[in-house]
Symmetry: D2
Subunit: 276 residues, 4 copies
């Protein structure tokens, strides 16, 4: 079922959140708690924004906990905005192009969840991807396809609307085939300036999603690290130090927008393509 | 540009042809001779028929020469019909699902060559794949797509016709877009009973393709090996011991059919879908 | 802490024991039960005896459950005697040369457990390996080193004595350095004719080890499979279908010797080098 | 035979030297010119100094040209001092721990060349490594062992003397066994402040080694890149834009010391351990 985290705020080393907390993302790849799938060892990935006009990307198929390259990179790379993901595969195979986050231009995208009966929907969904975007699809996951549909529906101009239209499109296609409760997701996408974190399910309870409540929440993770300055926030599948008042759950059918470490939320509702 | 070999005849260890000859497939992965692309180190694969109703398959992204697993497997696996391929990638990324041979049911398929301007054609070609076959596509190569189009056009019933229709379909789609000389190929496919080896190019000279002329040709490769019995034939991108009278070139626009180590050839002509 | 299984008896497909049982080795790589380390995803390996004078070997660093090559190979390879192992690493790094089983000549060897404070002992132990064997050591694990010490102490001539001397040698070296309770092990080694399964700990309870009790035990694992003939026995870290009367625990300080699917046991006692 | 490059000077993106030049290191992994081994596809590695007290390290077994992670990392990482290496293996296996550069503390080390009949010398050389350094050895190459011997002989205090003593030690051990012309090397090591580049062979011509002559030499590689400031120098196995007056050959039996992009050279002579 995957686990992910995203950070926005003062530049910090990636390892501060990926490796060091008591229940870090690496710990969650081995033993997640707030999910049925406790092991998330079908690959991992990190994406980070730095001085270039496009983000960096490192993904591999190894379990995150035993990849020494990831450890070494996270100990060197500093970023003010980054995404990290550990995968539990619902769509085989396990290959780098099926690991998250996905990248297109200066956008990154990652997903936890799945599309019900995706193999039946995949062809129709693929065909809805804009021709100029189609060649960029390298893998065969539902997650990557959701990204390219959102891009097709204008995510680069209006991220929230793009994702709302993507979800509605999938739900409509699923409905025509009698597939119930098709979309299960937490999604995080970024243009390098803001993070957009979505939590939604067609019916019922979506996967968990939290954001840190205060600056102290992050500083408390590592008292020895004095690097956090004003404006620092993490969005996580599950809390990095257990369920405490350091973390606030993001409600279902909500999108949280994080800019410079500050968060606002608004309702998330699937939106038909015809609407502006 | 890739190199491949296929064998039909008495059961032999895979290493006899993949590793042992003077200019083995492994040697060709490092330094091919009859092609512009001398290095074919973007992955490899073997497929072989044994006692099961479906063939075995082993593919990986390493250069074939430094994969100890391949060496160990080829030293153990014996087969009367097998395919082997070393890849030089024209379509990224290098991943297991982009390595040849590809497998569907009891069919194996591998390809040397490319489709011109494939990224422009890919979407249309994908959409022509039969819905029940579509979910089996795991990679994003032109080669795998050619396989699934041939299956869509009846290859399982009539292999030669299926491939002829596939080539015609691609040439027609290319023509509509002004893409010239679209198809360049040697292809080998098998159902476990016969090998079908195709050599074709829309215009001009296709990649090289040879078959062994006599049983002696194979036995001479390894005088110490007395295992070849009546009926043993190899089809190869380039000869395993240099250009000698052990090898006969397969003409362009030809398909060679090998059953039990015996070969026949017939003309290969792209065929419109409408024809039987 | 690793999990392993070994089989001796009528030839069967490797997948019958590695993949198909309710609590197969693959299931144990994801969620073992009779051990503290439930996840064993730091690589895997299979070794099998067939028609050659040396066994086959396939090892890789991926989690066993998501390696499609392993699945494909296990579905094709039939053997009357094979070993399989999933690793939970105590000695980094995770690399193919650190995966079990290890192979030397026609011998295979695998291990579950560890040597306490191995980094302090490694140099001395390495130096005790016979010079003609030394170049064959490719990794840096305690397990591989135990194998080469046992070979040094005559395992090829007398397997039980070789392992007894190896354990005594390590305990003596550990004792000189004040390291307590140094050796924790279940070991399986084979020459292609018999399996030798050891269960021992310097002090206290060693890792678990069981063997199947009756032919029915194995046939019951897969009622649809009628391939088991007289003489078929599996030795396992933990039962493949839960703790039932299909499995008998091998006592601590015991070696079980399996030949043609028949098992005998005898006491296992560390033995000083000087003894015959 | 490997190829490598090292840079010292103003911070630049790693890709400027690893990927962009006409005959970049990536091009050399596919088709080197000034060596017998034109293909160097048995793994690669990069090490770079940044804001931490220890350098970053990324190594993998793929051919450098098809590793998208390397491409992505080199496009993001900026450094004032970095090392990069593409490997042609003389000592199997191909695994991450056998890729260069090697790292110990804040030191990096890479090597092109080999030790003659290394398998006969390995045991004796390993035993000469200081006990506190021994646990850090993860692979089984001659190159890594040369590094740890140099560290044993005081490289951290006096790099040139440490390497001189290491070479003398190996030549002495080889001589006792009748091994002629044992050491063939270009070596590059760094403490993060300076680069030390060695070119030596016991007898005859060592592998090639060059350094850039002027700042223009580097700027000319990429006219569009205006980032090179005063003090920028590259040391390379072979020139990045062909044999031109942009490059000066480093004579045999010489060490070049590069600090802040400025180079000095001095003779390199193997030195017995007893000398200060």
């Amino acid at each position: 079922m995957c686990r992910w985290l995203a950070y926005s705020g003062s530049p910090i080393l990636l390892e501060e959140l990926i490796f060091k907390p008591e229940h870090s993302l690496i710990d969650q790849s081995l033993a997640a708690r707030v999910t049925a799938t406790t092991t998330n060892a079908d690959g991992f990935g990190i994406g980070w924004y730095g001085g270039r006009s496009f983000p960096g990307l490192y993904r591999d198929v190894r379990p995150a906990w035993n990849d020494s390259n990831l450890r070494n990179l996270a100990a060197q790379i500093e970023s003010a905005l980054f995404l990290a993901h550990v995968r539990s595969a619902t769509v085989p195979p396990v290959q780098q192009s099926n690991c998250h986050p996905f990248r297109y231009g200066h956008w990154l995208f990652m997903h936890n969840g799945s599309i019900q009966q995706f193999s039946e929907l995949r062809r129709e969904l693929l065909m809805a991807v804009a021709p100029h975007l189609f060649p960029s699809i390298q893998g065969n996951t539902d997650s990557e396809l959701m990204f390219y549909l959102a891009l097709t529906f204008g995510m680069e101009v209006d991220p929230v609307a793009g994702v709302e239209k993507m979800v509605d499109f999938i739900e409509t296609a699923a409905s025509k085939r009698g597939i119930i409760n098709p979309v299960e997701m937490t999604i995080c996408t970024s243009d390098g300036h803001s993070l957009y974190a979505f939590r939604y399910r067609s019916q019922g309870r979506p996967p968990s999603l939290f954001h840190s409540t205060t600056l102290d929440a992050l500083e408390d993770l590592h008292p020895s690290y004095g690097g956090f300055e004003q404006g620092a926030l993490a969005v996580v599948s599950e809390p990095l130090d257990g369920l405490t008042d350091h973390w606030r759950e993001i409600p279902k059918s909500t999108v949280a927008i994080v800019t410079g470490g500050q968060v606002t939320t608004q309702p998330f509702t699937p939106r038909p393509l015809a609407t502006a």
